[in-house]
């Protein structure tokens, strides 16, 4: 992959060459929407935007530090035991972020539940360690981790926004100690009415597992449609 990026980028500007490592994860190889990695948290925790942000940033943190450490240690880890070594490194950072979040964001930790410790087995992190950090320098690995992590966060926020808002007609940030974003007078009764005539009420299905599949499927179909139009023209 390294070679591909270098070949694509003919300009010799150092900044332009390196920025590609960052934007790669954001758009071209977005882990959740294009590589379809880490589907378990993508589908399970995106019931609330707050969960999406928390999960995305926690994953970014783990990805950043594990990529950094693995790229620094890449010449010292024997090839035969590299997967156990990567897992040990990743698990230590997951424990760190888990304890930190339990201390400072206990409500968010409760909502994320078991999916926070399960970042250990998130295939994005092991995938980047194996595919990128184990072969590249620390600087490149940091850029890659940031791009991948923020791309994942973006995907989670997109999915959770499309699930939480139609489902409950509000966006609940109380897990971060902030308020509830809504235009309804009574946030507990998600019914939208004009002149006492109900025109919409929150569809619970979007906050249920079935809704996660619908929304992810629709996003992927939409993305594929755009790509097909780019590739084959408007036909």
């Amino acid at each position: 992959m390294d070679n591909v990026i270098i070949q694509e980028n003919k300009s010799n500007s150092l900044f332009k060459k390196n920025i590609l490592y960052f934007t790669n994860g954001l758009l071209k190889e977005n882990p959740a929407l294009i590589l379809l990695l880490g589907m378990c948290p993508t589908l399970a925790v995106t019931t609330k935007v707050a969960n999406g942000i928390g999960m995305g940033l926690a994953t970014t943190f783990v990805l950043l530090f594990s990529n950094l450490l693995i790229s620094l240690l890449r010449n010292f880890i024997p090839t035969k035991v590299r997967i156990p070594s990567y897992i040990v490194i990743i698990a230590s950072f997951v424990t760190t972020i888990d304890l930190l979040m339990q201390a400072y964001l206990p409500l968010l930790t409760n909502s994320l539940g078991v999916f926070l410790p399960l970042i250990v087995v998130n295939c994005i992190i092991l995938g980047r360690a194996e595919a990128f950090a184990g072969k590249n320098t620390a600087g490149k690995s940091i850029l890659d981790a940031l791009g991948m992590g923020l791309g994942f966060t973006f995907a989670l926020i997109l999915i959770s926004l499309l699930r939480e808002f139609p489902g409950t007609l509000k966006i609940d940030f109380s897990d971060f100690g902030l308020g509830i974003l809504t235009f309804l007078k009574n946030a507990d009764n998600p019914t939208l009415s004009i002149f006492r005539f109900n025109i919409y009420s929150g569809a619970k299905i979007f906050t249920m597992p079935a809704g996660a599949f619908f929304i992810l499927g629709l996003i992927l179909a939409f993305k594929q449609n755009i790509e097909n139009k780019k590739k084959y023209g408007d036909k």
Binding site: N198, I199, S201, A203, I205, L218, A221
Partner: protein, 349 residues
């Protein structure tokens, strides 16, 4: 056309038997024979039921046009399949739901269940059933608020199955001979009407818009059977399984032994007739072989009775049909047609 003797001996290539039915004629015939039952629902539950039917049909047709435009297909709203989906969907909704429920469910049924998977003939589930389940899961409270029949004053009452379910959930003190005597012993404000078999049969009861009049649905179904538009195998095995399971096991819920269940009550309440004759017989989402269709019907009946007797919901016809729709490819795979003249190849040892 040509009566020359020499032509009588010529054999053209297959197919030899022509059927003059087309998608269009089938769909519109089914629609015509569903309309009496739908109108009965409007008569019983008032103007809101008519609004729901119209909203559902119009949204289905518009969604079909948009989806076919987007997919660069010929627009085929004349064949009536979108109208039929809209009508069937509306007939399975509760009569007092707000209008956004039929509209969004119809968009889901046509746009996602039908066209996202390839349009007519490619859908993985009956769009009307999937739309109903979508509405049921998304707006559970609205979808289980039932109007009192023939009062038009906006009061709500329980359906017979819901009343039986909640009475059984609370636990019954004395022994009843069956669900009917249990319903007759309940306080008046639950059902708000008297109930006997005749009233259940002709539709004087609460329920979804199109499922209440068993009589009108059966008349339509008999004509469709006579025309050969639907075949008897799925309804027969579906209803037969319900009868057998209800007869054997339903009595145990009322403190009586096996083989005492009141299966007539089970057939006359809920959506079994609408589901068995008009929804489970959808040509696209049912197995292609006779044997497969009988397995399909048995599965539907079995799941319906499991949900009614043991599940948390009072009614399970639509869930059962949706589940069996998803099993259809598996049934087709294991129950294969044996082409005429072919023998199973013997395994070489």
């Amino acid at each position: 056309m040509n009566n020359n003797n020499s032509n009588k001996l010529l054999v053209s290539s297959s197919p030899h038997i022509q059927n003059y039915e087309s998608t269009k004629s089938i769909m519109w015939t089914v629609i015509i024979f569903l309309i009496p039952a739908a109108l009965f629902g409007v008569l019983s539950f008032g103007f809101n039921a008519l609004n729901i039917i119209v909203a559902s049909i119009v949204t289905s047709v518009i969604t079909e046009i948009i989806a076919q435009k987007l997919r660069n297909q010929r627009i085929t709203i004349n064949d009536g399949s979108a109208v039929l989906t809209g009508l069937l969907l509306a007939m399975t909704l509760a009569p007092s739901v707000p209008l956004y429920i039929p509209i969004i469910s119809a968009i889901f049924a046509i746009g996602i269940v039908k066209h996202a998977f390839g349009g007519l003939g490619q859908n993985w589930a009956n769009p009307a059933i999937a739309g109903r389940i979508f509405a049921f899961v998304a707006w559970g409270k609205e979808m289980t608020t039932w109007s009192t029949p023939f009062t038009l004053d906006g009061t709500t009452a329980a359906t017979p199955l819901l009343a039986v379910k909640s009475a059984l959930m609370e636990g019954i003190s004395s022994n009843f001979s069956g669900p009917l005597s249990l319903l007759q012993s309940l306080p008046k404000e639950i059902l708000k009407i008297d109930i006997d078999y005749t009233k259940l049969f002709f539709g004087y009861k609460g329920g979804s818009i199109g499922e209440v009049s068993i009589f009108l649905l059966l008349i339509g179904a008999l004509y469709l059977l006579y025309r050969g538009i639907i075949t008897i195998d799925i309804p027969f095995s579906f209803i037969g399984t319900v009868v057998i399971i209800a007869w054997i096991f339903d009595g145990t819920l009322y403190g009586k032994g096996f083989f005492t269940g009141d299966f007539v009550f089970h057939l006359l309440t809920g959506g079994i007739v609408l589901g068995a004759f008009f929804m489970a017989t959808d040509m696209v989402t049912t197995p292609i072989t006779k044997k497969g269709r009988i397995i399909f019907g048995i599965g539907c009946g079995f799941l319906t009775m499991i949900i009614r007797m043991k599940g948390g919901y009072p009614e399970g016809v639509s869930l059962a049909i949706l589940f069996m729709n998803m099993l259809t490819p598996a049934i087709d795979r294991f129950v294969k047609i044996k082409p005429f003249g072919f023998e199973k190849s013997k395994e070489v040892k």
